[in-house]
């Protein structure tokens, strides 16, 4: 159930401590449309398979392309809205908004199924002004023996840990 899944995410936030964040930047090679770079960040190397990550970003890019698609239906929406002096927007949701809702659901799904079990959390780009996909990387406080490569688990931080080394 969604409530249980959301609860699990909150559990993750409480039991784990935030190690670092990675920001996937926008890809402007195709103009000003909203696309994100599919380049795999090195910080995620030990946490998630490259293919899974790329697939997620590519799906997101596909959604954004759908939202910004210029074609028959978007023209129709634009002209209809203009004919009503844009009053229709007071009661109707735009195509873009509908796709953004789909994206929210998709990101939540991905977080539940793929990212949270790996100690990662995707933030919806809409909450970051569509500039970046923010991926929070958590260190699991509760895990006793699991020491993934390059990360210090449990013991006082003595500056260890590979990763971004931003601190």
């Amino acid at each position: 159930s969604p409530q249980m899944l959301v609860h699990n995410l909150q559990e993750l936030r409480r039991s784990a401590s935030l190690a670092t964040k990675v920001f996937i930047q926008r890809d402007y090679s195709d103009g000003t449309i909203c696309q994100f770079q599919t380049k795999f960040p090195p910080e995620l190397d030990s946490r998630i398979e490259r293919q899974l990550f790329e697939e997620t970003v590519k799906t997101l890019n596909g959604f954004y392309a759908e939202a910004e698609k210029i074609g028959g239906s978007s023209y129709l929406e634009g002209c209809l809205a203009c004919a009503t002096a844009y009053f229709i927007f007071l009661c109707m949701e735009t195509h873009y908004e509908k796709v953004l809702k789909k994206i929210s659901r998709y990101i939540q799904e991905q977080n539940e199924k793929i990212f949270a079990p790996r100690g990662l959390l995707l933030t919806d780009p809409v909450e970051r002004g569509m500039r970046v996909i923010e991926i929070s990387i958590y260190e699991d406080r509760c895990s006793s023996g699991s020491s993934s490569s390059g990360s210090s688990s449990g013991s006082g931080s003595s500056g260890g840990g590979g990763g971004a080394g931003a601190r």
Binding site: C82, Y96, R131
Partner: protein
């Protein structure tokens, strides 16, 4: 027992947004700070049209056709609707980078350029991108701490980065950018038509009535006509010219900002990579393309721990009684607590056990 007034105030995100914007209707309306010229615009349009409907229309509807005021009303309503849409909506402001993101980008920049000694302003940071086989440079915005997307620019009046920044228009009291450019264009277009319409029918009215009672008598009977003709005359030259200019920009898919800076003109400059090369396609994209929603989330509610943390009470005795929640203490009047022995101004009265529920609510 004393009565406390603890107002539980919900803080919405618009109250904490940086930049020099004014917000109205609890965040639903967003404008620039200086609104004087916008009020003038409203006054001119409303005033002229009121005079037109009150005087000329009554005569012309009877003498010529009742369709005249009907079309005038439609034009008037359309231009008012588009004006208000232009003025009140988010032009496409790019929210500033949060500290984590800003630090990440700074790191990236330092990695590529090398560290800059403290106190020295680093050179403008530029990243190169290739768009449709042409190199486009992205500039770093020091205020917003982001790399500006192509076609975005920082408005110094509103202190925001705006996507597809066109210009800041004092007549509408807002920036004109990606999200409200079509409203702006339709506003100046409909205003041009309205101005021409009112001007023309004023002439017709004067002509018709002069035939009956003479020119001077006509003017004496409806002195508003002179005012309307004057306003329309000056508006015609400015607004119609502006509409023509923006039609040209729309056809080429350019912004005023790019036109002024000469981004795409000149022999040594790149061609506009955003133009489809086809006038109709450009117009369709700019005017009827998909409308991105605002990413500012002005009416989102800020979690209580972020909404202005009050400094902890420095008073020894009452500090343990005070809850951690930032209930606005300025609403509590110390004079309502007569049993406090210390100076009433410094000692915030102890609050009833109700506030701890606020704290748990904040944890949710």
């Amino acid at each position: 027992m004393s009565v406390m007034v603890v107002r539980k105030k919900v803080t919405r995100k618009w109250e904490k947004l940086p930049g020099r914007n004014t917000f109205c209707c609890d965040g639903r309306v967003m404008m620039a700070r200086q609104k004087g010229i916008f009020y003038l615009t409203l006054f001119l349009i409303l005033g002229t049209c009121t005079l037109f409907f009150a005087f000329e229309c009554r005569y012309l509807a009877v003498q010529l056709s009742p369709a005249i005021p009907v079309f005038a009303a439609m034009l008037f309503l359309f231009s008012m609707a588009t004006l208000l849409r232009t003025s009140f909506s988010d032009p496409g402001v790019i929210p500033r980078a949060l500290p984590d993101e800003a630090a990440f980008i700074e790191m990236e920049i330092e990695a590529t350029n090398g560290a800059v000694p403290q106190g020295q302003r680093p050179p403008p940071r530029i990243k190169n991108f290739q768009i449709n086989n042409q190199i486009v440079k992205l500039k770093y915005c020091y205020t917003c701490k982001i790399f500006r997307p192509p076609r975005a620019s920082h408005c110094s009046i509103c202190d925001n980065c705006v996507e597809r920044f066109d210009h800041h228009c004092p007549w509408v009291g807002n920036c004109v950018g990606k999200r409200n450019y079509r409203y702006f264009y339709l506003f100046i277009l409909s205003l041009s038509l309205l101005t021409i319409y009112v001007f023309a029918f004023n002439i017709v009215y004067v002509a018709l009535k002069s035939l009956k009672i003479g020119f001077l008598e006509t003017l004496k009977e409806t002195p508003g006509t002179v005012l309307e003709v004057l306003i329309c005359f000056f508006t015609l030259w400015s607004v119609v010219g502006l509409t023509g200019f923006h039609t040209f920009l729309v056809a080429l898919n350019q912004t005023t900002n790019e036109d002024i800076k000469g981004s795409w003109t000149g022999k040594n400059r790149v061609q506009n990579p955003y133009s489809h090369g086809n006038i109709v396609k450009n117009c369709c994209e700019v005017l009827c393309g998909p409308l991105p929603p605002s990413v500012l989330d002005r009416r989102g509610i800020l979690p209580l721990e972020e909404s202005g943390s009050r400094p902890p009470s420095t008073q020894e005795t009452s500090s343990s009684l005070l809850p951690q929640s930032p209930a606005p203490t300025e609403h509590l009047s110390p004079s309502e607590m007569p049993e406090d022995t210390s100076t009433p101004e410094e000692m915030p009265p102890p609050e009833p056990p109700e506030p701890p529920q606020e704290v748990t609510a904040a944890e949710k």
